[in-house]
Symmetry: C2
Subunit: 213 residues, 2 copies
């Protein structure tokens, strides 16, 4: 009769751990396709194979599910950028970063869409993170890229907008997937579209960033 599933000390049962995972997986599916307000607890419960009151036993409010999902997402979402290392070869590092981001768009499109949904609606729930953690990380990496430019390792350009462009182009293949498929048609829109995209983006960014002269 505790019911304190989410206390300051979350002592969780085996069942709680399992069921919470099940719910989060189902919620990711539902939220990423319908948005927060467009999703109902009933939909998530059904997708998780349980009743609504049962779901509400594990997460007291709809928002709690979304919040938990968002917290987990952000860590893995920023991991590729965190790995951008200033001790490696600049062009190799950037190529790896682009490739990793594109792989995430391919392998975790639901996470990408969940994030896009949140930002589109003004990021009401993660604004502090954007202005804090994210800005700090981007500024840090922008300085790494700037150093590469000063050292003549890559062409000079705006590091922040370079990062934005990499985000935009790679996430486009997850967020606008239906449009990409529709335009490419059945032949070119199949599984090969990510390899085509990888080739194109490598040419666009890496060739474009090679130092002049």
């Amino acid at each position: 009769m505790t019911g304190a599933v989410e206390g300051s000390a979350p002592r969780r049962t085996r069942i709680q751990l399992e069921k919470r995972e099940l719910i989060l997986e189902a919620a990711l599916e539902v939220f990423s396709t319908n948005g927060f307000r467009g999703s109902t607890i009933d939909q998530i419960a059904e997708a998780a194979g349980m009743s609504k009151p049962n779901l509400l036993y594990y997460f007291r409010r709809k928002e709690d599910i979304h919040e938990t999902l968002m917290q987990r997402l952000l860590d893995t979402w920023l991991a590729p950028l965190r790995e951008l290392d200033d001790i490696g070869d600049p062009l190799t590092e950037l190529r790896s970063y682009i490739r990793r981001k594109l792989e995430m768009a391919r392998d975790f499109p639901r996470e990408s869409r969940l994030f896009a949904n949140e930002i589109l609606q003004g990021a009401p729930r993660i604004m502090p993170m954007l202005e804090g953690e994210l800005k700090t990380l981007v500024d840090e990496k922008a300085n790494v890229i700037k150093a590469w430019m000063r050292a003549g390792k890559i062409a000079r350009t705006d590091p922040w907008h370079l990062i934005f462009s990499i985000w935009a182009t790679t996430q486009h293949y997850a967020d606008f997937d239906v449009q990409v498929r529709a335009v490419l048609g059945p032949d070119r829109g199949g599984d090969g579209r990510f390899e085509d995209a990888a080739r194109f983006l490598e040419q666009l960014f890496i060739d474009g960033l090679k130092p002049k002269g």
Copy 2:
């Protein structure tokens, strides 16, 4: 006592024309920030300065507002690509296209977000248009670009993914505006961010597309 605001022959009063515009303007604001399901008729009505039943006198269903909005949007949204002309200088044409798209992201961010919202959720209402009109247009322009490549006017690459990248990078500044602002901070995130973006994108795409050798 007709009430037939939307008949096969839409004989519309002056008041009807005015009020419908008012509603569409309000609905654009509301839909673009909350999504279709996240928006209520009451919100739109209040934003338009009228009561809910009054709004429903001009648009019988919520979906009708969204549909009308979407139809209008698509024409203006694709206009820049339609203008891409194969009689002009290739690099100039592409530069103009990128600039126009970025200007639209700056001047019509709500339209961009409305469109993004629709695509994100699987484009349930405009799928036929994507597979029809849009695909036809993109294929046509891809062939124009291909011809430029064969003629050695620009570097060889994938025209479809080139177009996707231009869409992604330019629309990013509308759809992910809050993120861009948050990361750039108060100084660089001000009005100048679009000029910085324009400079960056021109360098990225145009320099990268100059013919080799």
